[in-house]
């Protein structure tokens, strides 16, 4: 191989990389919180006494889980303006990430709730707790503790999947890579470095989520 790698050609672009990484982190953080909220509401809806509510939640989950994130993103960013919903690239990216994560979170939380023994719920009700109290204290918290590992893997999948938001010109980490390689023509070095940054982010996020999990779901 005669090609010489020149990683030092990236040194002038550290601020571009930092800005891109910052957007990736911020969007992931917001989508994580909002997606988890949707997941809890969605899981409750899938157990609703009303059949149409259950059906609606099921359609949402199946539609999102069986179509690519990239197509969801294009539909939101390019498609929605034609029915009057205009979004900036960042807003569309955040909406797509949240809607996507919400569907997976719904399914994960639902599985957690299903794993709670019926006797627990009956015991809660017989103690005079309201249905809402039973759901929040008896069902939800142990369910979340149980499914927390799969939930955090899903958060990281969303962070890694967010690399395609560069395709609607949201200026994330991948956008930074595309920008830099369009100026210094060192495409392999740039993408290699940015891949490494994503790997570090994934490992850091995993450590962070584990720390949060240990604190929130501490065994008493």
């Amino acid at each position: 191989m005669t090609y010489q790698l020149h990683f030092e050609s990236l040194s002038g672009y550290l601020d571009v990389l930092a800005r891109g990484a910052a957007l990736t982190i911020v969007l992931t953080a917001i989508a994580t919180v909002a997606g988890l909220a949707i997941g809890v509401i969605g899981a409750a809806a899938r157990r609703s006494a009303l059949a149409p509510v259950r059906a609606l939640a099921a359609v949402y989950v199946e539609l999102i889980r069986n179509t690519p994130f990239l197509v969801q993103l294009f539909f939101i960013y390019f498609g929605l303006p034609s029915i009057g919903v205009k979004l900036t690239a960042d807003e569309a990216a955040l909406l797509a990430m949240t809607v996507n994560l919400g569907a997976y979170a719904t399914e994960i939380v639902r599985a957690g709730i299903a794993s709670i023994a019926k006797g627990q719920i009956e015991a809660g009700l017989s103690l005079g707790l309201s249905r809402r109290q039973v759901f929040l204290h008896v069902v939800l918290k142990p369910a979340l503790a149980k499914i927390y590992p799969s939930l955090t893997s899903q958060f990281i999948i969303v962070m890694l999947g967010s690399s395609v938001i560069s395709q609607i010109s949201a200026e994330d980490l991948t956008y930074a890579a595309n920008y830099i390689q369009s100026r210094n023509f060192r495409s392999f070095e740039v993408y290699f470095a940015v891949t490494a940054i994503y790997l570090v982010l994934a490992i850091a996020f995993r450590a962070l989520f584990r720390g949060i999990g240990n604190r929130v779901f501490a065994r008493r």
Binding site: E62, R65, F69, Q72, F75, Q167, T174, F188, T195, Y198
Partner: protein, 216 residues
């Protein structure tokens, strides 16, 4: 000025969907072969093989598929190999699928009761014989539902090949949209195409899982 009827849009997307299916098959076949090797390395008696395969899985699962695509597309060119988008996408998706399938299958091998390993060891079987005659046949049954489920991830993953210019369903959607300026309709139909491909497989995976639960 050529005007597009709904049928023109659907027909062109149908033609492009063949490439989505084809690329998915390539990725599943390649990823399955490489993934099996990764799985064997992951449970092998050799410590270095285990460490190496663990690191491989960590890197594949910890980096975006899009970056893997870009690295294959631009990286192979450094060796003077002129890679077409199809080749680059096939290699990247093979690597991506092997990283996940290897780990999924490792989980299935782990689910085989410990006593099976001990019994076959005490019978004097080598590692290869243990895998061949005792572990893999039992793990295979457990592996069918999650493997089927992962096929959905592969099909959705092929959408990213559009970004390096491979004309499959998503890229065809973009091209048609550029001609018709009906993004809501075009991307809506593209999404429904993916749904039509993936949903039956999701249902099959869930049904297989239920059957396995009953069988236990």
């Amino acid at each position: 000025m050529i005007s597009f009827t709904l049928w023109d849009i659907v027909r062109n997307l149908l033609l492009a969907a063949r490439w989505t299916v084809g690329l998915s098959l390539i990725a599943f076949a390649g990823g399955g072969l490489l993934g099996a090797l990764i799985m064997f390395a992951r449970v092998a008696p050799n410590r270095w093989l285990r460490a190496l395969s663990t690191a491989y899985i960590e890197v594949v699962q910890g980096t975006p598929l899009l970056m893997q695509l870009f690295l294959c597309f631009f990286g192979l060119a450094l060796f003077g190999i002129d890679v077409s988008p199809l080749i680059a996408a096939s290699i990247a998706l093979t690597i991506y699928a092997s990283g996940y399938l290897g780990e999924i299958w490792r989980g299935c091998v782990d689910a085989v009761p410990r006593g099976q390993w001990e019994a076959s060891t005490s019978l004097g079987l080598s590692f290869a014989q243990q895998m061949r005659f005792v572990i893999v046949p039992q793990a295979l049954r457990i592996a069918v539902p999650p493997t089927t489920g992962f096929v959905v991830q592969i099909i959705k993953g092929t959408a990213l090949a559009s970004i390096i210019g491979f004309v499959e369903l998503t890229k065809a959607g973009t091209i048609i949209n550029n001609a018709t300026f009906q993004p809501f309709l075009v991307y809506g139909i593209v999404a429904l195409f993916y749904f039509a491909l993936c949903y039956p497989i999701s249902l099959l995976s869930a049904a297989l899982e239920r059957r396995l639960d009953v069988a236990r």
